[in-house]
């Protein structure tokens, strides 16, 4: 796991209601982590703070970006790249 993935897993673990020692890899579904919509709002906020990005997320809409840990990591990588392009 690269730095982005490691940081995201840390944030997920911090916000899991149970079993924080559970093994997490890129294919892990967020729904398997006992993460609910309110937790996801907190997680999005934490990720935004950590990476200095803004994630277009709406708890009322389905989003493929938040199905698996890998999809979150990819979305964040993409946004970090966009953000560094914009500031370059």
């Amino acid at each position: 796991m690269d730095e982005v993935a490691t940081k995201i897993v840390e944030i997920l673990k911090k916000n899991m209601k149970s079993n924080p020692d559970k093994e997490i890899d890129m294919d892990t579904e967020l729904t398997d982590l006992d993460i609910e919509s309110l937790d996801l709002a907190v997680i999005v906020f934490d990720i935004e703070d950590t990476f200095g990005i803004e994630i277009p997320y709406n708890a009322n809409e389905e989003s493929g970006d938040f199905n698996t840990v890998g999809s979150v990591v990819n979305k964040v990588r993409e946004l970090v790249a966009e953000s560094s392009d914009a500031t370059a």
Binding site: N15, M16, K17, L38, A41, V42, V44, F45, E48
Partner: protein, 448 residues
């Protein structure tokens, strides 16, 4: 008034046939008044089976009580925020022996405002002592959770507004709203223990915890519920709140000196007091240890002034509580006074006690434990209620510290500086809030 309660609560029992039957049996003795539709029922006895305290003199009832017995103060220099030069009062009652991760752990509570965290800790102690958790796991529908706060998540709001308006951080923590809600402490505790009955917060400034207890007491008494977690919590020690209290000229820069000639205001503190109340038969049936009986409760409003209390309002609440308890003033052995150390409260409360107690006012032991733990606002009533119950268990009156030079207008026995051993059977807990909102609870020994 009682008749109204019965009608309202009985209305909610339609889906509980067995209980409806019990209530119906009780109502066989309907006393049909001259005006039809009026009815009375047997009233149930209400007992305390658990209590929990988070306070500046100690988290946990035993630690809190040990500090009160020794006359220890929990008031010290403010450490929670930068103490700017413009603050007149640079002291407060902070809670330093509480760690939400270690002491509560529940992730929902860890994320909540501190007022909910303190309530959760006090509720954990009370529920654990009562041993009612397993009963609630099976069915929490006959239990209430009423926990209030004077100002709810005020510190969360202050932080949010500072970020937005001053620091121009245009992102708001997604939990800001939920942390701020005055009902969030009650909601969190209901989730912790599967309490699915009446759950909400109440608000009455410094009488909040007592009003919560009074509601639960009455609901149990008239059969709407069998048990309830009740109390208040406050954690509003922040710069903005300190400034707003100072603007009202009610804070002392020096300390909390109830009933003293030198008293010059109160000291803000934080904390939570929670009790588990239960129908006596319900508690007995499950073999619970009964700490005390709630003998009576009275509440009034001055309908006068926001900050100048009336003798009649406080006296009225004491009279109602005594009547409800079926006790005479001379039966009361100890009064835990509201005793805020403001100019007006202490004289008004003294005069109210005199007007209700008559000759017995001179012999009843009184103290303001706020002299030690400061003013926990909405969180204070049931912390002081815990002091009343411990006074009964220990036959010990906790002192009013900092009382070397009493105000001549405050001429009763306030137990100055040192606690005293005394047989204590019945205790009175006064809460007299801003706005003239008054509550008085009376505790007695466990029924035999």
């Amino acid at each position: 008034m009682r008749d109204i309660f019965i009608v309202q609560f009985a209305g909610g029992l339609a889906d509980r046939p067995s209980l409806s039957l019990v209530i119906l049996n009780n109502l066989v003795g309907f006393k049909l008044a001259k005006h039809s539709m009026s009815k009375t029922a047997e009233q149930r006895r209400v007992v305390v089976t658990g209590q929990g305290v988070v306070s500046p003199v100690g988290t946990g009832v035993d630690k809190f009580w040990a500090a009160l017995k020794k006359g220890e103060s929990g008031i010290g220099p403010i450490t929670y925020y930068e103490v700017t030069d413009d603050l007149r009062c640079k002291i407060a009652g902070e809670v330093h022996d509480f760690d939400v991760q270690k002491d509560v752990g529940d992730i929902n509570v860890v994320r909540a405002d501190r007022f909910s965290q303190l309530a959760a800790k006090a509720a954990m102690e009370a529920v654990e002592q009562s041993g009612i958790a397993d009963t609630l796991k099976k069915d929490g529908s006959r239990t209430a959770c009423i926990i209030g706060s004077g100002s709810g998540g005020l510190t969360t709001l202050e932080t949010g507004y500072r970020d937005l308006y001053r620091d121009k951080i245009m992102r708001t923590n997604p939990l800001t709203l939920l942390r701020t809600l005055g009902s969030s402490a009650a909601a969190h505790v209901s989730m912790m223990y599967n309490i699915t009955g009446p759950t909400f917060g109440v608000v009455s400034a410094c009488a909040t915890g007592s009003h919560a207890m009074g509601l639960v007491y009455q609901m149990i008494k008239y059969g709407a519920i069998d048990a309830g977690v009740a109390g208040g919590s406050e954690a509003s020690l922040n710069w903005g709140a300190q400034r707003s209290w100072e603007a009202l000229f009610v804070l002392s820069p020096a300390g909390c000196f109830p009933f003293s000639k030198k008293r010059n205001g109160t000291i803000l503190s934080e904390g939570s007091g929670i009790m588990v109340l239960e129908d006596y038969e319900h508690a007995k049936a499950r073999g619970a240890t009964i700490l005390a009986e709630v003998m009576g409760f009275g509440m009034t409003a001055d309908a006068g002034d926001m900050v100048h209390p009336k003798v009649e309002g406080a006296a009225g609440a004491m009279k109602l509580a005594l009547k409800d308890a079926g006790l005479k003033p001379e039966d009361i052995d100890y009064i835990n006074a509201h005793g805020t150390a403001t100019k007006t409260n202490d004289v008004t409360e003294t005069n109210a006690i005199k007007s209700v107690f008559g000759d017995a006012a001179k012999s009843v032991a009184i103290s303001s434990t706020k002299s030690m733990h400061g003013h926990m606002l909405g969180g204070g009533s049931l912390v002081e209620g815990a002091a009343c119950i411990k006074a009964m268990h220990d036959n010990f009156i906790p002192p009013t510290i900092n009382l070397n030079d009493p105000d001549p207008d405050c001429d009763l026995d306030y137990t100055p500086n040192k606690g005293v051993e005394k047989e204590v059977t019945y205790t009175m807990n006064n809460s007299l809030a801003f706005g003239g909102l008054n509550t008085v609870a009376i505790f007695g020994p466990a029924p035999k």
